[in-house]
């Protein structure tokens, strides 16, 4: 049993590592094919031909593609992600700095989404088809339909501009995290609430819960202890699946609130064609994404032993 489990984990890790390698290659090749001369971008329109060639050699972009890729991989392994075409700063430092900002934002948002989302779902399931349930369901459905950037603009226009509760832009103080975190939390919150409600309703309808009721176990204990435990596996799955939406949301949220995170860095780098930044940001985000997915997958097998039989 243990050996089978261990070899499954090893296999999954190996496949993920291979996937990451292919991803780096694809991103590298795709970006090298993009029109635009990095030397021109750095020196501007008036640069002489000799100076351009000099900078091209310095950046290594005059070498064949495969040579460039192998060199890039070697540097990557050593934690060197190259330097920006535009300002010449080391990319790795910038990625680490912006990545931290995004991680704080995403974790805060996810914490809000899980706590409030599950709470809303449980309350809904406790009084199915009541007025509160109806209200919550409409709110949840609206929540999945609101684009992240519009949610952000609405919050800025009311909670920041009109009522002055929180600052509209910037990053650093605890007050500045509130609006972006709420914005980013909206979509996963709604999805988690919806899944919690349906999964709790299913659990509450089971014979096992009926027996507990027959034994006069208090309803609150049934709800929070027995039914929730039974309903947890699908909720955990849907939480794991929110990471992709969280990345999309973070890119937009950071743009709306002017937060110096990796999402805004990616968009700015794309708009200014700064390839080392785009490459590093895309690879970093994708590696984080596949790693979290792998972790969720393995965690899920651990929570729900039934999963192990279908290896």
């Amino acid at each position: 049993m243990w050996r089978a489990e261990l070899s499954y984990v090893a296999k999954r890790v190996a496949v993920t590592a291979l996937m990451v390698l292919v991803v780096t290659f694809v991103v590298f090749v795709v970006l090298e094919r993009t029109p635009g001369d990095p030397a021109q971008a750095r020196l501007g329109q008036n640069a002489t031909e000799e100076r351009l060639a000099e900078v091209r050699a310095e950046l290594g972009v005059d070498q064949p593609l495969v040579t460039q890729y192998v060199r890039f991989l070697g540097d990557l392994v050593q934690g060197d992600l190259g330097t920006s075409y535009l300002n010449g700063r080391p990319v790795a430092e910038e990625i680490a700095r912006t990545g931290q900002v995004s991680a704080v934002l995403a974790t805060t948002a996810m914490a809000i989404a899980v706590v409030v989302g599950m709470g809303v779902g449980i309350v809904s399931a406790a009084h199915p088809n009541g007025w509160l349930d109806g209200l919550l369901r409409i709110t949840v459905l609206t929540g999945v339909s609101i684009p992240v950037f519009w949610m952000g603009l609405i919050l800025i226009s009311f909670a920041a501009v009109r009522w002055g509760w929180f600052p509209a832009y910037g990053w650093g103080t605890p007050q500045q995290i509130v609006l972006p975190a709420v914005t980013l939390a909206t979509f996963p919150l709604a999805v988690i609430a919806r899944m919690t409600r349906s999964s709790m309703l299913e659990a509450l309808g089971s014979e096992h819960i009926r027996t507990l009721r027959a034994y006069a176990v208090p309803e609150r204990v049934i709800l929070l202890k027995y039914a929730l435990k039974q309903a947890l596996a699908p909720i955990a799955t849907i939480i794991g699946l929110q990471f992709g939406a969280l990345i999309a949301g973070a890119i937009l949220t950071e743009s709306v609130f002017g937060i110096p995170g990796i999402g805004r860095l990616t968009v700015d780098a794309i708009l200014s064609r700064d390839h080392p930044y785009v490459r590093a940001a895309v690879i970093f985000t994708t590696v984080a994404y596949v790693t979290v997915n792998l972790a969720v997958d393995l965690l899920y097998r651990w929570i729900d032993p039934r999963q192990r039989r279908t290896a």
């Binding site: 996937m19 990451v20 292919v22 991803v23 694809v26 991103v27 795709v30 970006l31 094919r33 993009t34 029109p35 459905l141 609206t142 999945v144 339909s145 609101i146 684009p147 992240v148 950037f149 519009w150 603009l153 609405i154 800025i156 226009s157 501009v161 509209a168 990471f243 992709g244 990345i247 999309a248 890119i251 937009l252 743009s255 709306v256 990616t266 968009v267 794309i270 708009l271 785009v278 895309v282 985000t285 994708t286 994404y289 596949v290």
Partner: protein, 297 residues
Amino acid sequence: MTDVALTPAVHGVDLAPTAGARARRGLRVFARNKPALLGALILAVVLGGCLLGPLLIDTDPTAQALDLRRKGPSADAWFGRDQFGRDIFVRVLHGGRVTLTAAVGSVTVSAVVGCALGIVAGYYGRWRESLVMRLMDLMLAFPYFLLALLIVALAGAGVANAALAVAISYIPQFARVSRAAAAEVRHREFIDAARVAGVPHYRILVSHILPNVGAPILVLATTGLAMAITGVASLSFLGLGALPPNPEWGAMLAAGRDQLAVAPHIAVFPGVAIVATVLALNLIGDGLRDVFDPKTQ
């Protein structure tokens, strides 16, 4: 004897209700679903407005009226005017055409390509299946919005490229769903019967497999359309989709963000249009899921 073996319906095996009966029953289930009907109504209003509005209202969506800048909603311009004095109501109608066309085009491309790949993979199995599904796994390794961003980075900004980027990043969803559906019917008896009767593969694919993957694909396309609207609008909002001065819902929001303190209505109305349309599609999608879900039948 032979034609008995070839017409499984005679044995009562795999006997499906006729298409007409199925459609009528489906419509009944859908019509009982109040939220889904509300969704259909909202969508009809939005579509009707965007299709007919620009024909009926003869105002240029890019016409500026600098003396009326940032004027709030009034009888003259229902949704107010933007920072160039342009009529926001007219711009929302025209912008809807751009956003919706891009989204519909995008879902069509991903549905056609995704289903073709998925059906071939699910029907043939073996190396074709491995090849297609590994490719899809590779695409799914990227967070979808990042993939779309990367494609726009490669193709350049513009509403057509944004739509294409959204289309490509959504292909794996269609491929996965249609592969699963095709693999499920592959071993059914009527497929074997057709094979034995000598029907060529491509005809089996088109006339037997395709109709059987239709239901889950229709559901996915409805919610996919909601995703595509948000996706196209998001890319435009970031400055990678539709470019000014042409109206597009996401680009209009981006233009309104600097005016939030003085004229919030500039950003409010295009956003309401997006939310209403996406909400309507999600409601319809839920309704369709109930129609096709065997558990509710």
